[in-house]
């Protein structure tokens, strides 16, 4: 018999007390991990989406900023039109180092001419682009040619086929980008020439032709020169180019950031209330248990146990229960969030990126440490009180 074995046997011998602590640890740990996974997943997703766009300022037509952001993050079809002539005006603004157009399109829904339904499509100008091109250069050794595309992590060529068909136009998928958790993962990137060629072919090959308004783009992506202040340049663009709205990079997806902040607040609120209630409940249960077991602890002291031993045996019991409850709670949370991630995106209206196995392991480890610390804290006072008591007083109860 040793301290750990004694603690384990005591746990097994008191099913009611053990069940309450076990369940509390399971709920709190599970809820904590779910909150962290959802909020972190949404924030990380936004960060990667901003990074993917790679622009310091995104200029869109006035009044269409939320549409463009929704299109990029959630795949909501957007009809945002900006005159192409604005590109020169923006380029002339002091502080602007580069400007590149992007055209946002979407494939048809359930159309026989499209092998991918309602896919978000991004057309870019390879001559000026500074967002997709560096990736292409690094991974494919050049840019995309006519009829070629790269896709988000979930874009693939249908089984048994060599191309993806959009508006009756055959596109060769040359590679896949890293996941972002946003709709960019289900988007396809190709050149403006490919988009125009697709529009031409679609007139005869598609159920419905692809309409691209001449001399129109969806957004202009701006890269600043060294030392330029993003806020000053945005203000200058607004002055120089009427009818546009420059979205500064820190403010990009602001509505979604606010939504995530609100979500974080709500989830932290629920987590705090549940956590505090659980800790109080665990504290009460352990306090009652320690009280009930004063005689048992008195006997242990009479047999030669030190105060430290009595304290340790009570705290270790609580810790083992916390661990036993936290582990299935965390596994359940990780599995639930993973299985229902699409529902989370739709239900909460925010993008979401599930962490890598290594990151998940880190988060689970942090939650285990949190659960252990919480329960140990709740157990510490009653254990300390009983351990300091005269054995004779304990045994009189």
């Amino acid at each position: 018999m040793n301290l750990w074995r004694l603690a384990r046997r005591n746990i097994a011998g008191s099913s009611y007390r053990s069940s309450v602590v076990f369940l509390c640890a399971l709920v709190v740990a599970g809820l904590a991990l779910s909150t962290i996974l959802i909020v972190r997943g949404a924030s990380e997703s936004l960060r990667l989406a901003s990074l993917r766009l790679g622009a310091d300022i995104v200029v869109v037509a006035e009044g269409t900023e939320s549409k463009v952001e929704s299109a990029l993050l959630m795949g909501t079809p957007a009809s945002a039109a900006l005159p192409r002539s604005n590109l020169q005006k923006i380029a002339a603004v002091p502080g602007v180092a580069a400007v590149s157009p992007q055209l946002y399109l979407s494939s048809l829904k359930n159309a026989s001419c499209c092998s991918a339904s309602e896919m978000f499509l991004v057309a870019f100008d390879p001559a000026t682009d500074f967002t997709v091109s560096p990736w292409l250069q690094k991974n494919l050794g050049g840019t995309l040619r006519l009829g070629e595309a790269v896709g988000g992590t979930y874009v693939f060529t249908p089984e048994g086929e060599q191309n993806i068909r959009l508006y009756g136009y055959f596109i060769t998928l040359k590679g896949n980008l890293e996941p972002t958790g946003t709709n960019l993962d289900r988007s396809m990137f190709f050149t403006l020439d490919t988009a125009n060629d697709m529009a031409r072919v679609s007139k005869t090959q598609a159920d419905q032709p692809l309409q691209i308004a001449p001399d129109t783009i969806s957004a202009a992506l701006v890269k600043l020169g060294a030392g330029a202040d993003v806020h000053d340049v945005a203000a200058r663009i607004m002055q120089a180019v009427p009818g546009v709205m420059p979205i500064e990079s820190p403010n990009l997806f602001l509505a979604f950031r606010r939504q995530i902040s609100g979500l974080l607040g709500a989830m932290l609120g629920i987590l705090s209330i549940t956590g505090i209630l659980s800790l109080v409940l665990i504290g009460l249960v352990l306090s009652m248990a320690a009280n009930e077991r004063r005689r048992e602890m008195g006997v242990l002291k009479a047999l030669g146990a030190t105060r430290g031993f009595v304290f340790k045996v009570l705290v270790i019991e609580a810790g083992l229960l916390a661990l036993a409850g936290a582990l299935p709670g965390l596994a359940l949370a990780a599995l639930t969030v993973y299985l229902f991630r699409s529902l989370i995106i739709r239900g909460l209206g925010v993008p979401f990126l599930y962490p890598s196995p290594l990151q998940l392991l880190g988060l689970v480890g942090a939650c285990i440490i949190g659960a252990l610390m919480g329960v140990t804290l709740a157990a510490a006072y009653p254990a300390w009180r009983v351990s300091r008591e005269d054995a004779a007083i304990s045994m009189r109860e």
Binding site: M1, N2, L3, L6, R9, N10, A12, G13, S14, R295, E296, G298, V299, L300, K301, A302, L303, G304, A305, T306, R307, G308, F309, D390, A391, A392, I393, M395
Partner: protein, 226 residues
């Protein structure tokens, strides 16, 4: 071996009410004595025994074991002395319900034995044989009668081969026949070993089992007869 010098113990009950459980008690017990202390309920017998065993701190006076003042020792030294020097038999059910009979008997080895786990188990088995419970090694306390449980407690008290056995009303909840069996068992152990026994009871008929009898009333040792 055991010496109490003007020991008093006052408990403070709810509020400020003070109860003097033991009052200026002085006592000297030599090795190999079987001392039986009798007295009515509330006379201070259990408190006196707890004072001897270091389970409660005296309000005044000194408790000396082999010349060492118990309350001059730190918690660790006092716990070590308790595990090596004393064996305890309580009047209430004191077995740990989640452990088997064998594990309960071996429990004091966690705190005081120098032997290996195997040796502790072997000795526990021997002691359970001694108290007539060799066939109940793997039973749980709830599966035993009150008398059998008390026998297990006796076996547990002897595991670390203590020099002093402190027994607090060891037969209070038992029928007459079982009471006799337990007392007989204690006398056998006393005769076989050089153990010192201090037993408190409210039953004056039990004094015949001891080598020396004391009486307590209102917290004081009032009578001693050889």
């Amino acid at each position: 071996m055991i010496e109490l010098r003007d020991v008093s113990k006052t408990y403070t009950l709810d509020g400020d009410q003070a109860v003097e459980a033991v009052r200026d008690a002085s006592l000297s017990v030599s090795q190999g004595e079987f001392v039986i202390i009798t007295g009515r309920s509330g006379s201070g017998k259990t408190t006196l025994l707890n004072l001897v065993g270091g389970m409660t701190r005296p309000t005044a006076g000194q408790v000396l074991i082999d010349g060492v003042d118990l309350w001059q020792l730190g918690d660790r030294e006092q716990s070590r002395l308790r595990s090596r020097k004393f064996g305890f038999i309580f009047q209430f059910p004191s077995l740990l319900p989640s452990l088997t009979v064998l594990e309960n008997v071996a429990l004091p080895a966690m705190f005081g034995a120098d032997g290996s786990g195997q040796e502790d188990t072997r000795r526990s088995q021997e002691l359970l044989e001694l108290v007539g419970l060799a066939e109940k090694l793997h039973a749980y306390p709830r599966q035993l009668s009150a008398g059998q449980q008390q026998r297990v407690v006796v076996a547990r008290a002897l595991l670390n081969q203590p020099a002093i056995l402190l027994a607090d009303e060891p037969t209070s909840d038992l029928d007459e026949q079982t009471e006799h069996e337990i007392m007989q068992l204690l006398r056998d152990i006393y005769r076989r070993t050089a153990i010192t026994i201090l037993l408190v009871t409210h039953t004056s008929q039990l004094v015949s089992y001891g080598s020396r009898a004391l009486k307590m009333a209102a917290g004081a040792i009032i009578d001693e007869s050889a």
